[in-house]
Symmetry: C2
Subunit: 300 residues, 2 copies
């Protein structure tokens, strides 16, 4: 069998994640139908599934079981999805569309969108516990995963980044402030995903540190790439209007450094991330490295 | 030493919980100040601390360590607090006051209130893991607690009850529909608290089932008592306006059964709950039984 290309790899992993996500929603018999619909509407709305794919690739890098990592891959996507639902609310970004579809609150109303987000966040922890229940991952290891999920998705992590972003709308003047936002709002959940995959795959402490360095750097690169695409991207490929940051007077990397230096920054961060992985002696690091390159080169 | 009265017991337990809650907030150095303030504003806003006190009493009933149960007692109060913050939002109940103070969004704005709720919910899982980290509760047992927390606070539990309540505003016609709301919106988190305390205290399976029966029944009794107090209570003692249900045309137990039959229902449910505890051979069941009576007789 020939080694599938990274795009084929991503496609097949995304399909596996989709399948598992559909199964991971709470059963119909004991959840109000409208709540389950609202949860599923956003959870099954497509998207890149980047975080779960990185999680599975990290498990694979350690020659760990992809099956055992799937419940936590679902958990990270639930957390990502809830954060988008709440971010889109009128009180926050007030977005009507996401990935070309109406946002959750435009379909189900604000109250249900708030509750569907709460439900997905809570259910993510249930999904994570499945790794122990269905695949025999040791309780101690799952507890480590859950602890880190609560830190990196919580007030010290993603929610903290979201608050800083909101406060930043009143005026960021330094690149360090922007980094703080990106590191917490974007990188933290990516770092969580990678380390969780590593933990389930049995990564050593130095390997977990390498995954953290990798995640921090490619997470920041991902965010800068997003900002670059908002300036130079193709609306059709992106599925959304470009130059929205400019219109919203949002301070971004291209705003501080210009496009060329921002591109160099993305390359530099990706290289730092990859180097950490290369040095950590993973048995099968290839997919992680390819994913970093893929994310750097993406045009949507 | 004489056996302290139940009111003294509640007072001292509540004080211990307050102390631990203040300590359980994420450290100041790595959380945006405004987020930490918003979380603390609602978490430290007083309240009965009924859920954590029941949790500690359940651990005590098994002769388990109250100290080891405190982290999970904090977790359940964080979940209760987040649910109140989100419930009070304009899109949901649109309440300006709670316990005589401005609601979270009236002080910090809607966006921050949504995020502070998200942060408290996520941080609750961090708090629960502390039981293992600080007090050596076995990982397997903490994982059981976390799994049940995600179920009973999630879409199949409290959030599901909240959705049913919201939908019920369009017209409840049957007592069973009202029971569904109360059982999920109120009883589920009480059941979680009791079983979590039991688990940490080392309860047997039959004892956990007894705690579940106890929680389901006193949770429902608690809610009916709330509805009764809304009709016949003293505004000064309650710290809120009475007859709000009537004004809001809210369907309640007193609406269906009248005050006298509702009171009998509270007594009956309390008796069923207590009986389950009495039959389960707990080494020290007294405080649980006294708490059930106390809640039944409360006037605020």
């Amino acid at each position: 069998m020939s080694y599938p290309s990274i795009t084929d790899y991503i496609k097949s992993r995304a399909a596996r994640v989709e399948e598992e996500l559909a199964r991971s929603l709470p059963g119909e018999w004991n959840v109000p139908q409208a709540l389950r619909d609202a949860m599923g509407y956003s959870l099954m709305a497509g998207g890149k599934r980047m975080r779960p794919i990185l999680l599975l690739a990290a498990a694979e890098a350690c020659e760990g079981s992809v099956e055992a990592a799937l419940p936590v891959a679902c958990a990270v996507e639930m957390i990502h999805t809830y954060s988008l639902i709440h971010d889109d609310l009128p009180a926050l970004d007030n977005d009507d569309y996401r990935r070309g579809r109406l946002t959750n609150h435009k379909v189900y109303g604000e109250a249900m969108a708030i509750l569907a987000g709460d439900a997905l966040l809570t259910h993510a922890f249930y999904a994570a516990v499945r790794a122990a229940r269905l695949h025999g991952v040791p309780a101690e290891r799952v507890l480590d995963v859950i602890e880190e999920m609560s830190v990196l998705a919580g007030p010290r992590g993603m929610v903290g980044g979201q608050v800083a972003d909101m406060q930043g709308e009143q005026g960021i003047t330094k690149l360090e402030e922007l980094d703080y936002i990106h590191l917490h709002k974007t990188s933290d959940l990516i770092v969580f995903a990678l380390k969780a995959g590593g933990r389930i795959g049995g990564a050593s402490e130095p390997q977990l540190r390498a995954l953290e360095t990798f995640g921090t750097n490619i997470g920041l690169a991902f965010q800068i790439q997003d900002d670059i695409l908002d300036v130079v991207g193709d609306e059709t490929k992106l599925g959304k209007a470009v130059r929205s940051d400019e219109k919203m007077q949002k301070v971004t990397y291209p705003y501080f450094l210009g496009i060329d230096a921002s591109r160099r920054k993305v390359e530099e961060l990706t290289a730092i991330g990859k180097e950490a992985i290369e040095r950590a002696a993973f048995p099968r690091p290839d997919r992680l490295l390819e994913l970093a390159d893929f994310l750097m080169r993406r045009d949507h």
